[in-house]
């Protein structure tokens, strides 16, 4: 989880910012121009880190928005007069953000390699548009004759004719963008983005429409990159189509990784270090004429060394802040509440010719522990997927009390209080236990644009979930560092925090030791105070000692249903198990 920088890092940032603000006093005209370029790149890479480091979207076309922002300045500039800075700003941010919305609408549907390629192709398409046609100077690039200024009521407030004012404008924009992204990353919205980075499938299962989160952050990052492009166009007075080409995008990725992804300040350091290094390697006074002439080779070697030797980048060498304290326990007595009744009627699921679940009719009494058992391949996991909405049914009807919920998606069912855990442990390893529960609690109202508010109710839900599962003392620990059994407990805590009242647990005991098994089963029994539990489980001792009802699936059909004692005596069950498989101990 991204947190505010440590005091050490803050000190570095503040000293750098003050030095940068005073820099024009001793930098020559060339120095100011060079520093302004770094600033424009800083805004670009900061916005890219919002995609790569925060959300896990490796965009290989981010420079497209930077270039569009730069071209926007040319578009609003009259041939021989200065443009209005506000107009330039509006167009740069609007054009870049608008393009990001269109490209993002397609791109964020894809993942991994395809996302990289779709963003690359989209930016190349824009590159081809500006390079091959004459809309803005074609391959020669676009020159901005007179730079923008800001005149209000006849008084010139900002005039970009003066280099220093572009510099300070850019610096202020960078500082603002940094504070904005740092805040954004720590809002519920930013937390959800980081959840998407760690495990998008899990986020969807929690009920987040990850598409809209990804699209929103794509647009924000695109608009921000457009602002960077505006600063670039204003300082150089010239926009080549290469500004939105794939090499510029690659360069930006390089700076992000060099500085350290997911730290926000790191990529800005990366931009500074990269630009200074390139400048140093290019100057024959520092490295000698031979190297200066072929600077790309040592530069390439440095980058390779970074990838192989310090994959966490420069920021990885600086201290990072530990988890925040959570609000203390409310210590209120547990509320006893009945849940709704989940029932299925003639539910079936076919995969091609294979019938995985065949006409199952079941009703799950509220506030009980229900077990679903059956030999391997009996269709248990498919059945769970049908209940939770992860798979659509081929036939039949699913109802919550009297309401038909057959057609609802997993996300919609999660909002109705039907939560499921997965066979494989599936917590967000980089979040703390508390943050895991918080992101789950956020899923109760999984809207995209949630930047504040509701913290109190969320804290309450988190506290409730932690208390209910006995994880209160572990709240500050990174979930990735928990024992296996504790991670399974955390999954249940997350379901509870998300507001789930009907918990569908797929093998909650898989891989736990005997001590942990008892703890989890005691936990499940205790949870029936205000929850209904449905477990799919192989551990027969645990199932027969803790479940209120047991349903037996064989070959996709329900062959028996009843209390543990009835199931123990059931002939069909005996045959299904003992005849084919043989259990550790006869039930």
């Amino acid at each position: 989880m991204i947190r505010n920088p440590t005091p050490t890092v803050w000190a570095i940032i503040v000293v750098l910012a003050i030095a940068a603000a005073l820099a024009p006093m001793w930098l020559g005209p060339y120095g100011v121009k060079f520093a302004t370029r770094i600033i424009s790149l800083g805004i670009l890479v900061l916005s890219l880190d919002l995609l790569i480091g925060v959300t896990g979207l490796v965009s290989f076309g981010h420079a497209a928005f930077y270039g569009l922002g730069a071209y926007a300045v040319w578009f609003v500039s009259p041939k021989d007069d200065s443009a209005d800075l506000l107009k330039a700003l509006a167009l740069a941010i609007g054009l870049a953000g608008g393009a990001a919305a269109i490209i993002g609408a397609f791109a964020v549907r894809t993942r991994g390699f395809y996302f990289i390629m779709v963003t690359l192709a989209a930016s190349q398409m824009l590159y081809a548009l500006f390079h091959d046609t004459r809309i803005a100077g074609g391959s020669d690039g676009a020159s901005i004759a007179v730079k923008p200024d800001l005149v209000i009521a006849g008084v010139t407030l900002i005039d970009f004719y003066n280099r220093n004012s572009i510099y300070w404008f850019g610096l202020a924009a960078l500082a603002l963008c940094y504070l904005l992204t740092l805040w954004l990353a720590q809002t519920p919205f930013g937390r959800a983005l980081q959840g998407v980075r760690q495990n998008e499938t899990r986020m969807s299962a929690l009920g987040f429409e990850t598409y809209w989160f990804k699209l929103t952050v794509f647009v924000i990052a695109g608009a921000m990159a457009g602002l960077g492009g505006l600063v670039f166009a204003c300082i150089d007075g010239f926009v080549p189509p290469e500004a939105l080409g794939w090499k510029q995008s690659g360069l930006a990725i390089m700076m992000v990784v060099l500085g350290g992804t997911g730290t926000l300040h790191g990529p800005i350091f990366g931009a500074i270090i990269y630009a200074m290094l390139e400048e140093a390697l290019k100057s024959s006074g520092i490295v000698g004429a031979t190297i200066a002439d072929h600077w790309a080779i040592p530069m390439g070697l440095v980058l390779i060394a970074v990838v192989l030797g310090a994959p966490k980048g420069v920021a990885g060498l600086l201290p990072r802040r530990a988890a925040q304290k959570l609000t203390p326990s409310t210590d209120e007595p547990r509320i006893v509440a009945t849940t709704q009744r989940l029932s299925v009627e003639n539910v079936g699921r076919r995969f091609g010719g294979l019938v995985a679940v065949d006409g199952v009719t079941l009703s799950f009494e509220p506030n009980k522990v229900h077990a679903v058992i059956g030999p391997n391949g009996a269709g248990k996991t498919t059945f769970t997927n049908l209940l939770s909405g992860a798979l659509p049914v081929s036939a039949g009807r699913i109802a919550l009390d009297d309401e038909d919920i057959t057609a609802l998606s997993a996300a919609a069912k999660a909002r109705r209080g039907i939560g499921r855990s997965f066979q494989r442990t599936n917590v967000f390893g980089d979040f703390t236990v508390g943050e895991n529960c918080a992101v789950a609690a956020q899923a109760r109202r999984p809207g995209v644009l949630r930047f504040g508010a509701d913290r109190l109710r969320e804290a309450e839900a988190v506290g409730f979930a932690l208390d209910a599962t006995g994880l209160r003392e572990r709240a500050q620990i990174r979930a990735g560092d928990l024992s296996h059994g504790e991670q399974r407990q955390l999954e249940i805590a997350m379901l509870i925090a998300s507001g789930a009242k009907i918990l569908i647990l797929d093998e909650p005991l898989a891989g736990t030791g005997p001590e942990e098994t008892r703890r989890v089963m005691d936990l499940l029994r205790a949870l029936t105070l205000d929850h209904t539990i449905i477990i799919i489980e192989h551990d027969m001792d645990a199932v027969f000692s803790a479940a209120d009802t047991i349903s037996v699936l064989v070959g996709g059909r329900l062959i028996a249903r009843g209390a543990p004692d009835d199931i123990r005596r059931d002939a069909a069950v005996r045959e299904a198990y003992l005849g084919n498989f043989g259990m550790e101990r006869a039930p």
Binding site: I52, V58, F60, F106, R109, T110, R111, G112, F113, Y114, I116, M117, V118, L120, A121, A122, Q124, M125, A128, L129, D132, T133, W246, G250, I253, M254, V257, T261, H294, W295, A296, I297, M299, G300, L301, L303, I304, V306, V307, L308, P311
Partner: protein, 287 residues
């Protein structure tokens, strides 16, 4: 109409060249799991090898035969030095390291061959044009090039579908761990795949040298187009790459004549259209 026919010929020929480059890329990604941005540099290597070796031997085909083992050795060396460290790394680091390789390769090219464009002569015995219909003629070298590319493509498909190595490659594409569990040394397989991919891209660069001039950024256009082809065809699919490359080649050639200025955009639009209908590409598993 005749112009269209000529452009279709050109498109098929260009598509086959792109296929040679893209097939290496799709195999390297499908089997090694590595995004190799430096793949275009191997095409460039081929182009410059053709330049030097043709001036030494006087014949582009002789140059290609000599250049192929050089490209294989080069690819194997790059795999050993850099790429093998990327197998367990995430895409970001692969992009970064291979991007850094481009910097190094481009600069090395500039040191060795300079910044000016060069041309490579087609062999004298293939220099003319033959008339196809009354008013229509086509350069012989381009026809020969089409034939050679087609032969290479078929040879590669034969290796992949009919030989033991091909079976290993296909197995590696669908399940890397399994190949290792079965006791095959995947390091050897990976190096072979990477070196073959390098040689295919270089072969395309060498054979294309007499048709297009040899210049510093020659590989980069090929790189981007190859990625588009890989995405259209579906990652790891040779068949998909073949169809994708032909489609791109023809679309590009026709676009250049009938929609000048928008030809490159058409290619990306084609890709967007394919992805909209089949998110995993023509023959890919779903994304």
């Amino acid at each position: 109409m005749e112009l269209a026919l000529i452009q279709i010929f050109n498109g098929v020929q260009y598509g086959l060249l792109i296929f040679l480059a893209a097939s290496g890329l799709t195999l390297v990604f499908g089997i090694l799991g590595v995004i190799n941005l430096a793949h275009g540099s191997f095409y460039m290597l081929g182009a410059y090898l053709a330049l030097t070796l043709t001036s030494l031997t006087g014949d582009i085909f002789l140059a290609t035969l000599l250049g192929a083992p050089i490209a294989v050795a080069f690819g194997a060396a790059i795999e050993f030095l850099f790429v093998r460290h990327l197998y367990k790394r995430d895409h970001l680091q692969q992009v970064l390291l291979t991007f850094a390789l481009i910097l190094i390769f481009n600069e090395t090219q500039r040191i060795l061959w300079g910044s000016y464009p060069h041309s490579v002569p087609a062999p004298s015995y293939l220099s003319g044009s033959i008339s196809l219909t009354g008013a229509l003629s086509y350069p012989v070298y381009r026809l020969a090039l089409t034939g050679i590319c087609l032969a290479l493509a078929m040879a590669m498909m034969f290796v992949i579908t009919r030989t033991k190595i091909g079976a290993l490659i296909r197995a590696g594409e669908s399940n890397r761990e399994m190949v290792e569990l079965l006791g095959f040394d995947s390091r050897w397989l990976y190096r072979l795949v990477f070196a073959s991919g390098t040689a295919l891209a270089a072969a395309a660069g060498m054979l294309a040298a007499p048709v297009e001039s040899v210049y510093p950024g020659v590989g980069e256009r090929v790189l981007i187009i190859s990625f588009v082809v890989v995405v259209i065809g579906g990652i790891g699919s040779i068949r998909g790459a073949f169809l994708g490359a032909l489609a791109i080649g023809i679309a590009d050639a026709l676009g250049k004549v009938f929609l000048p200025g928008f030809a490159s955009m058409m290619i990306y639009a084609l890709m967007a259209a394919v992805l909209a209908i089949r998110p995993g590409g023509l023959f890919g598993r779903a994304a």
